[in-house]
């Protein structure tokens, strides 16, 4: 029961943070560009709820959700998105490079598939150091067509590493439907090519994600090797915020598809289920929402009042 509330809290923290980021971006208040995790919350939250603080995750360009799911701090995240000195990376990383090594979050990654080898290396490190830590690589359906994915899964398989390969299949690589550019319908099938288990899970069902992740984590901790989990999910927004502007009216998703996706909102689904199960009262969940929303608002205030990085800090954090 407590775990369900924990997972829901992680999801709602992601949702409210991302909604705020979307608003700030549309108002032109954030430099650069952002890829929001809205709609995919059940995956990051369900997986990270099975992890310890000292377990590792490596994320993607759509990485805010993973940071929050692993226990990241709103203030330092928001400050990073504003490019402030108080941000996680002192303004040097931005949306696609947020990391928090103190909670095992080894960084988001701007290159599709670029983070996967690192996650394998963290798993190798755990094995060589003789710990029972596990390492999770989050990536998308698009990344499963990168060489880095195939090299990494094979390496983890032959070395029997404690790694979870979590494919967040949101059906689109940027604006291209997955089936147009992918030789298989199910990314999980690719596990067979490397002799490891491949599992498909409904990525909008947080508890189902939690369950398959738990099994994979237990396997990894027991020294039984990696698992590929394919979570079928949806991104509620675009590839990047503000994409309408640069798509110049071009449309790539039908109204019908968007409506179907709306009906599978993972937070709405879990909310309903929790009430049915008696995990929480509507009042409890409303209070939780208010607390989270307030924390998001405070993070924006924190970011705004934070100092800008000094130009001369470009020469800091170079060589050790």
């Amino acid at each position: 029961m407590e775990k369900i509330l924990d997972i829901y809290t992680r999801m709602l923290r992601i949702r409210r943070f991302e909604e705020q980021v979307g608003v700030l971006f549309s108002q032109g208040q954030l430099p650069g560009f952002v890829h929001l995790y809205v709609g995919e919350e059940a995956v990051g939250a369900g997986v990270c709820a099975t992890l310890r603080n000292d377990d590792y995750i490596v994320s993607t360009h759509r990485g805010h959700g993973h940071v929050i799911a692993k226990g990241g701090d709103f203030n330092r995240m928001m400050a990073e998105l504003f490019g402030k000195a108080t941000g996680y990376c002192k303004g040097k990383g931005g949306s696609m490079h947020i990391a928090d090594f103190s909670i095992g979050m080894l960084g988001a990654c701007g290159i599709v598939g670029g983070g996967i080898p690192m996650a394998v290396g963290a798993g190798l490190s755990a094995k060589l150091r003789g710990t029972d830590q596990v390492s999770v690589s989050f990536f998308g359906d698009g990344a499963s067509n990168e060489g880095s994915f195939h090299e990494s899964v094979n390496l983890a398989a032959v070395q029997n590493l404690p790694v979870l390969f979590v494919c967040e299949n949101n059906q689109y690589g940027e604006f291209t439907p997955m089936e147009k550019v992918t030789g298989v319908r199910d990314i999980a099938l690719r596990a067979q090519g490397y002799g490891i288990p491949g599992v498909i899970v409904d990525g909008t069902d947080a508890l189902a994600v939690y369950e398959v992740a738990q099994t994979a984590v237990a396997r990894a901790r027991a020294g039984e090797g990696p698992t590929l989990i394919e979570a079928k999910t949806h991104r509620k927004g675009g590839h990047a915020e503000g994409e309408k502007a640069f798509l110049a009216g071009g449309v790539y998703r039908s109204a019908e598809e968007l409506a179907q996706m709306q009906a599978k909102d993972p937070i709405v689904l879990l909310h309903k289920r929790m009430l049915e199960m008696g995990v929480a009262t509507p009042n409890d969940l409303e209070e939780l929402d208010q607390t989270i929303t307030q924390a998001v608002v405070e993070s924006v205030a924190f970011a705004r009042r934070s100092p800008d990085p000094k130009p001369e800090s470009i020469y800091e954090d170079m060589w050790v």
Binding site: Y56, K92, M118, S125, S135, S148, E151
Partner: protein, 321 residues
């Protein structure tokens, strides 16, 4: 002091550092058998966990090294040939080199990528390139290229102990070369050059396999009364520009000798630095001797026409006199 081959020196450095620090481990294709013999025999002492034969997956292995490095280990990734680094470029540039800076100093990535660099043994286009300028152009990588077995040992030990990502390039043509290697914990700090020969008339800066050629050129020129100072920077980034500038301030003439290509090559960087910072001392325009701007041909006659020769170094020195 004992005379040893270049690969024996590499092996000694690896074994000594692996004994000294249990977080150091080695991985790559066939490191157990050791294609260049520099890693041969280490498996017998350190076992499967610390001498890891990997799949032929340069990108994946290079990136796995970064993951291991940022979580507390000190990987040495042997990718065999410099040209194989191209397959791993994304992970080396975007992760190994960038991690510390882009994460605001949260991480350090103490990792060594070890390869053979350059040509000279008719290995053909895909195995004979001097790749170092590509990595000199990457922020926050260190790039090391020894010119002899003794430096190879000392620099490799320094690279392994360094907390930053290091590209360690062994000149392919020097694999079987021998040198006297000081006994004990022979250590050569990164970023420090060495004056290989003193001279009052011209300064040559040369690295890797070009050092020996420059020394041979200096001997020939000495017979004509031209005294050449030869400097080996040993580390290409960060490089010992003070040593070169100080020398040029005395000689007033500069020749840069490097196996890589002329456009944005190491010689270009050295010549530009000298022109910019020692212009008032110069009696002639700095000259470059670089590899010809073509792919590496196979035939020994063609390959030696591409790689800088002793004659070309002599001619370049005469141009500045």
């Amino acid at each position: 002091m004992a005379k040893k081959t270049y690969v024996a020196a590499i092996k000694d450095a690896l074994a000594e550092e692996m004994r000294r620090d249990s977080t150091v481990f080695l991985m790559g294709e066939d490191v157990r058998l050791g294609v260049f013999a520099g890693t041969r025999g280490l498996h017998a002492e350190f076992g499967d966990a610390r001498v890891i034969d990997t799949p032929i997956s340069e990108l994946g292995v290079a990136g796995a090294g970064v993951g291991a490095a940022v979580t507390g280990l000190r990987p040495i990734v042997d990718l065999m040939f410099g040209t194989f680094l191209y397959l791993a470029l994304d992970q080396i540039v975007q992760q190994a080199a960038s991690a510390r800076y882009m994460f605001g100093g949260q991480a350090k990535a103490p990792i060594v990528y070890m390869v053979q660099n350059g040509g000279g043994i008719s290995a053909g286009a895909h195995h004979s390139q001097a790749v170092h300028p590509i990595f000199m152009n990457v922020p926050l990588l260190k790039v090391v290229m020894p010119s002899n077995a003794a430096d190879a040992k000392g620099l490799l030990k320094a690279a392994i102990r360094d907390d930053n990502p290091v590209i360690f390039l062994s000149p392919l043509s020097l694999t079987g070369s021998r040198a006297d290697i000081p006994d004990g914990d022979h250590f050569v700090p990164l970023g420090k050059g060495e004056i290989k020969r003193n001279g009052r008339d011209v300064t040559i800066c040369a690295a890797g396999a070009m050092v020996q050629k420059s020394l041979l050129a200096a001997e020939i020129l000495a017979k004509d009364g031209i005294e050449v100072e030869v400097i080996d920077p040993r580390t290409l980034k960060p490089w010992d520009e003070e040593m070169v500038l100080e020398s040029v301030a005395r000689t007033g003439r500069f020749v840069a000798v490097d196996e890589s290509k002329p456009i944005c090559g190491a010689a270009s960087e050295w010549a530009a630095t000298v022109s910019e910072k020692a212009f008032s001392f110069l009696k002639a325009a700095p000259q470059r001797v670089s590899g010809k701007d073509v792919a590496s041909p196979f035939s020994p006659i063609l390959e030696s026409a591409v790689i800088p020769s002793v004659d070309e170094v002599v001619a370049a020195v005469k141009r500045v006199m």
